[in-house]
């Protein structure tokens, strides 16, 4: 066990969280910029497009929302779809809950607000490392704050640059790359490998489901397969 980790101060954990998030930001920045570009080209006012990045603060559903604006989708449909797309965050919530159970309600509110894919994924790897540090929640705060700042700034850059970023650059591909960078190193035994494999296959096989429900189906199959493989 890492003995120094037991003594890490809140500030050290906070800085470690920022440091852990930094490489991920390389992939998040272009993604935030494309969101800004898409939002303004869909006709959103610059201020609305910017505020969505802090009010909603969930990349994939923001993309979906601005595309729906283009299509003239009814508001209720947009809200329901975004809600279902973001349901995976309930799994993240369950996953971090045991580590931050001792905290005050204010802390829980702040960390919940910051619980995005990218902050969660980096923080949960840190939480799962064996150590007795009581300040690990500061790591999630650091990672979350770094991601939040990056998301706001890259949104602003995208709004500012507007149509000057051509789609042929394929910058939206950085989303997949960012998740590859996080997921692949986390596959470290047979159970997690089978979990990933079955989740990926299910996501493809159930791609016809509405509201991106294939994501939820795939996650549940992946988790079940991992669990089953673990018990054998």
């Amino acid at each position: 066990m890492d003995r120094t980790a037991e003594k890490t101060s809140p500030l050290q954990e906070f800085l470690l969280g920022i440091k852990g998030e930094l490489p991920i930001l390389l992939g998040v920045t272009p993604f935030g910029m494309i969101y800004g570009v898409l939002a303004t080209s869909a006709g959103l006012a610059a201020w609305d497009a910017q505020m969505m990045s802090s009010v909603v603060f969930a990349g994939s559903s923001q993309f979906m929302l601005v595309q729906f604006v283009n299509l003239g989708t009814p508001a209720s449909m947009m809200i329901i779809t975004a809600f279902v797309i973001n349901l995976r965050h309930a799994l993240y919530s369950a996953s971090v809950a045991p580590y931050i159970q001792h905290l005050s309600l204010l802390w829980k509110f702040i960390l919940s607000y910051l619980l995005t894919d990218e902050a969660y994924a980096v923080a949960i790897m840190h939480f799962q490392e064996p150590s007795n540090s009581k300040n690990k929640h500061w790591f999630l705060l650091g990672a979350g704050a770094a991601l939040w700042s990056c998301w706001q700034l890259s949104t602003a850059a995208g709004i500012f640059l507007g149509a000057q970023v051509p789609p042929s650059w394929g910058l939206d591909f950085t989303l997949a790359l960012t998740f590859i960078a996080i997921a692949v190193p986390a596959i470290n035994d047979k159970a997690s490998f089978l979990s990933a494999l079955s989740a990926g296959l299910t996501a493809i096989l159930t791609r016809g489901l509405p509201f991106k429900l294939n994501l939820i189906a795939a996650a549940l199959v992946g988790i079940t397969v991992g669990l089953w493989s673990d018990q054998k």
């Binding site: 490489p23 349901l87 919940s112 591909f173 960078a181 692949v184 992946g222 991992g226």
Partner: protein, 105 residues
């Protein structure tokens, strides 16, 4: 308040409540052991479920061919991530491969 703001605030509140859900509930309710053990698979299962359709589908259809640049560049990125475990290298090499393949093919 404009229609867009009603949508944004609704989605924002719903997303926040989703993220808060189990963090808040855990105090009141202890999940069974099987749930606790299953949580370890959440990051890998969810992220893979996002990645694979992103690289293997084109316009909603399965595209397992050599002219699917995202699949090729994604495959290269997966190898780099596996060998280096470095996010910087994975995203960097993945993006450069994507551009190089778009230029070549």
């Amino acid at each position: 308040m404009s229609k867009m703001w009603v949508i944004m605030l609704s989605v924002g509140v719903l997303t926040f409540l989703t993220r808060l859900s189990f963090i808040y509930l855990l105090d009141k309710w202890q999940p069974p052991d099987v749930i606790t053990r299953s949580l370890r698979f959440v990051p890998v299962a969810v992220l893979t479920a996002i990645i694979i359709p992103e690289i293997a589908l084109q316009n909603g259809e399965l595209a397992l061919s050599l002219d699917n640049i995202r699949l090729l560049a994604g495959g290269i990125a997966i190898l780099v991530a596996w060998r280096t475990k470095s996010a910087l290298w994975t995203i960097g090499v993945g993006m450069v491969s994507f551009w190089a393949l778009s230029w070549l093919l």
